[in-house]
């Protein structure tokens, strides 16, 4: 218990004096996860809109598949992306393995199902009367879709924030695709895993506190957004 308490005090000290290692790892984590969430949003919001607004054969099955993939294990995505970008893989020539770019690709894939699925639910939650009112006031199909997205904005924002939270807290892709290279691909989760196994509990706890604080901040923003 004393060891935990001392570790906690040391962790707070590391954060308070803005320890360079802690700051660097946190900044990298935020950069990679924010970029992944942004790229996923660019893909998933239009994709969710397309699935919601179009009628096509197999639509129900696709929505079911997307929802099934919400819980996609991070190590499975890590393996998939590893096979894709490893030297002998189809994208091996791009030299993305053990790089932040590779981690971004992996995390984008990881958060895409949840972001697409929640976007579809958000858009489906907008009253059909909104679509009809927009249409009756002369909106084109594209303008109707934009209106519905605008109406669903808080729920769509929540989908993006949840995606960001999942990217920030995952460890499988970061470890397998990033390789946990110090000063290059080491992020909060992989640094916690490594330092715990090496017995450096102070640094692990400091990074853990930051991760929990960031998760809490995401939740607070989420609550605010949903209240809009």
């Amino acid at each position: 218990m004393e060891e935990i308490w001392n570790g906690l005090l040391k962790a707070v000290e590391l954060i308070a004096r803005l320890d360079p290692v802690v700051v660097e790892i946190t900044a990298r984590s935020l950069f990679i996860s924010l970029t992944s969430a942004f790229l996923a949003a660019l893909i998933c919001i239009p994709l969710g809109g397309f699935i919601e607004f179009r009628s096509f054969w197999g639509k129900r099955a696709i929505v079911n598949l997307i929802q099934t993939l919400y819980g996609l294990p991070t190590v499975t995505v890590g393996l998939l992306v590893f096979l894709l970008i490893s030297r002998s893989g189809p994208l091996g020539g791009l030299h993305l393995l053990f790089s932040p770019a590779g981690m971004i690709i992996g995390q984008t894939i990881l958060v895409s199902p949840v972001m697409t699925g929640l976007t579809i639910s958000a858009l489906a939650g907008v009253s059909p009367q909104i679509k009809e009112t927009a249409k009756s006031l002369g909106a084109s199909e594209a303008q109707v879709i934009l209106t519905v997205i605008k109406e669903a904005r808080p729920a769509v924002m929540a989908a993006v924030l949840l995606g960001f939270g999942r990217a920030l807290s995952e460890v499988g892709v970061a470890m397998m695709v990033g390789g946990n290279i110090q000063g290059y691909t080491r992020v909060l989760t992989t640094a916690i895993a490594l330092n715990t196994s090496m017995g450096d509990l102070e640094l692990s706890m400091a990074l853990g506190i930051i991760l929990i604080t960031l998760s809490l901040a995401i939740n607070l923003v989420l609550g605010k957004v949903q209240g809009w």
Partner: protein
């Protein structure tokens, strides 16, 4: 040329026939009232004219063009010459002013003066910055009317425009519709026989999805009273 005409218009959802063989015409600047009991098909007729639904049979001829047969792009152009106010209007997120500007914005014709005029016309001058979702039912109805009026439509489709309003607001909307006539063609679904009598140039009676009467208000209402002994003008509604 007749401004608007429906030819043997019909709508079915599966086995349920909602409208059948509706043939009527409206001249430019006229007010046509659609009367009939709840569920008789009045709203469906308005929706077919506004191209919100596809007819199962028949056609809508608008200013000499069969608009039901047009490709989607052309339908939007036709729809932009009309505006419809629903019985239970919904508000977009944002202020009353943003709601009223919606139709102008989708036409890329934003004009704050027109929005002010519309707000004044429905007696909501001081409501522009209010969040639309906080309005009462009657205020929403008036906002929805302003949202349509600001577009200066050639054809205004009103579904029970005064159903949710208190008598004072209803009277002001009646006056507005009266002032609009001659400038704008109005097709108005209503239960209110007195409103029909006061405002309409012609009345169409719809029962169980069929047109059972069409003519001048006094003739049609007299015929309705003869058919339905429970009905009399002072009772106001169907």
């Amino acid at each position: 040329m007749t401004f608007l005409e429906t030819r043997e218009l019909g709508k079915a959802y599966g086995q349920a026939q909602i409208l059948k063989d509706i043939s009527l015409s409206v001249e430019r600047g006229d007010v046509l009232a659609l009367i009939g009991p709840t569920g008789s098909g009045k709203t469906t007729l308005l929706r077919l004219i506004n191209l919100l639904d596809e007819p199962s049979e028949g056609s809508v001829i608008f200013d000499g063009v069969n608009i039901t047969a047009l490709p989607e792009k052309e339908k939007i152009r036709a729809r932009r010459r009309m505006a419809m106010v629903f019985q239970k209007p919904v508000m977009f997120k944002g202020s009353v002013r943003e709601n009223i500007s919606f139709g102008l914005n989708v036409r890329k014709m934003g004009d704050p003066r027109k929005v002010d005029e519309s707000l004044r016309a429905v007696g909501l001058d001081s409501f522009g910055s209010r969040i639309a979702s906080t309005l009462s039912g009657g205020e929403m109805q008036r906002t929805a009317l302003a949202r349509a009026l600001v577009l200066e439509p050639e054809l205004l489709l009103l579904d029970e425009p005064t159903a949710n309003l208190d008598p004072k607001s209803a009277a002001s909307i009646d006056r507005l519709i009266h002032d609009l006539s001659r400038k704008t063609t109005v097709i108005m679904a209503t239960h209110n026989m007195q409103q029909c009598h006061r405002l309409a140039d012609r009345v169409a009676v719809i029962r169980e999805g069929r047109l059972t009467g069409l003519g001048r208000p006094e003739e049609v209402l007299a015929a309705v009273m003869k058919q339905d002994e429970s009905f009399s003008l002072p009772s106001v509604t169907w």
